[in-house]
Amino acid sequence: MKWQIILSGLRARPVRTGVTIMAVSLQVALILVIVGLTTGTANEIGKRIAGVGADIMFQAPGADVLLAANGANLKEKFATELAAKEGIQRVAPVLVKISTAPLVNIFGIDPESFNEVSGGLVYLDGKVFSEPDEIVIDDIFSRDKKLKVGDSIELIKHKFKVSGIVQNGKGSRVFMGLEAAQDLNNSPNMVSVFFIKLKDSRNINAAIEKLSADFPGYELRNVPEYAALMNGASIPGFDDFNAVVVFVALCIGIMVIFLSMYTTIMERTREIGILRSLGASKMFIVTLIMKESILLCVIGVILGTIGSYIIVDSAKSFFPSLAFLISYKWMIVAAISALVSGVVGSLHPSLKAASQDPVEAFAYE
């Protein structure tokens, strides 16, 4: 019966109901889409790095897990030294350069060593770069920027010509020659990372231990574990950023629910007076208002989750290089956030409604 009051009340005020549900949906979508974008991007970078096919990533002391954040601070000649170590099959030096407009990592590679470590870039069209102003792009970047072989694009304030399009998934979306990248970066003979392929990939950690002894202080990362590492926790500020997003969404949700429920109890003062005169307890009134609020939030969670997938799909169709990851974990976080908004936002209005004096409620018109 209580649900009948709630549902009929919601039906009777379609605008308020609709706007409240929409606001809760936005709260949920805000969390799922923004966190999905950050998580998805990190996850996608991790997968691409893992896709290089190397066993170990060798970086300068104190280097960040985000390759683009480090610049070129390793001497290229280390590659020879590393390659001479026991158990190492091949070393691919890479200079990682970031372009801000458009935002993309560029791998400066030595095609021969990179192909040996990665098993080779798979060309869908064109061929490897042969000039300093030529680049190879992956199919996603090609679709995103509507580029085909022979087209030009400006990256890092330089005009580049597309010489080939490769299948995505191996390190970066844009590749250029290592020397050209070093020149562009004003860092001759310097690189950002060495991708190391072991002769026997079964015991990567033992190889890392050995290399650590030979190169104390250098960052050595197990590449297959890198994708898992890129899920967030290890990226500086990642969890804090997500926490801020959830907090902001929660605040918005609480305010919307508060306003909505406060308005509704003001509108329904006389109805509440009628219920109180019939003998409805304060708890009855509190649970009535809270259940209404929670119902709005549940509908908001469902629509917000569906809406998030629609937003993500639309965003991907317009910007193919964007990566999203809507995980169950964040769905639960978004749902809890919305439900907490429902409870907290309706707490004061419901207590206010319950504490209304029946006599005064009847005098209210």
Partner: protein, 235 residues
Amino acid sequence: MLIETVDLKKTYRTGKVDVEALRGVDVRIRAGELVAIMGPSGCGKSTLMHLLGAMARATSGRVLMDGKDIAQMNDSERTAVRRTKLGFVFQKLNLLPTLTARANIEIARTIQGSEGDEKIDVYLADILKILKIDDKLDRRPSELSGGEQQRFAIARAVSHRPAIVLADEPTGALDSKNSEAVLQMFRELNRKFQQTILLVTHNPELAGYADRLIEMRDGLVVHDSGSIASAAVGN
């Protein structure tokens, strides 16, 4: 004795001024009576009804119902009294506007715990026939006339067979034809089911439908046509 007030006083504070709405009211209502409380606006009749209806606390004095003083009870105790022993009919906007008439009655029965009680079902069916609204149960208040709304409010008020029904200006928002019909129905409920009914009004015509008339002025009872004391003197 069903309900009795003893030196009942109620003072409201408005700003720095104390307004004495009741200045010592002694009233005794017997079971099965149909009583009209009359008086001009501001005489304290609605305040008396609120105190008899466990809707407010008295400043002093007592309201005894089944030997318990409801005037000094806390909110949850008064709520329980309203739920189990009382039924209310107000001047207007008695029904929850978003629910059908049937749901308005059902919500009362849910709150009062009489949902699914077969005896009450039979009784209620009878009441709805007497009130001539048994064919309008699925209408919303906006689809009912003022008189029909008031009749549903009466049906809801008696749906759990309360000890006493309190009606505050029940015909105040009705035309004369509907007023008469509603008052006739109060009388029929009183006669057929011995339902105790207390009508509060400022309309002298309404008094003709009651068995007993209590007149109030300035927070005091100035005349009671059928008080226990006057009945004893009469005997």
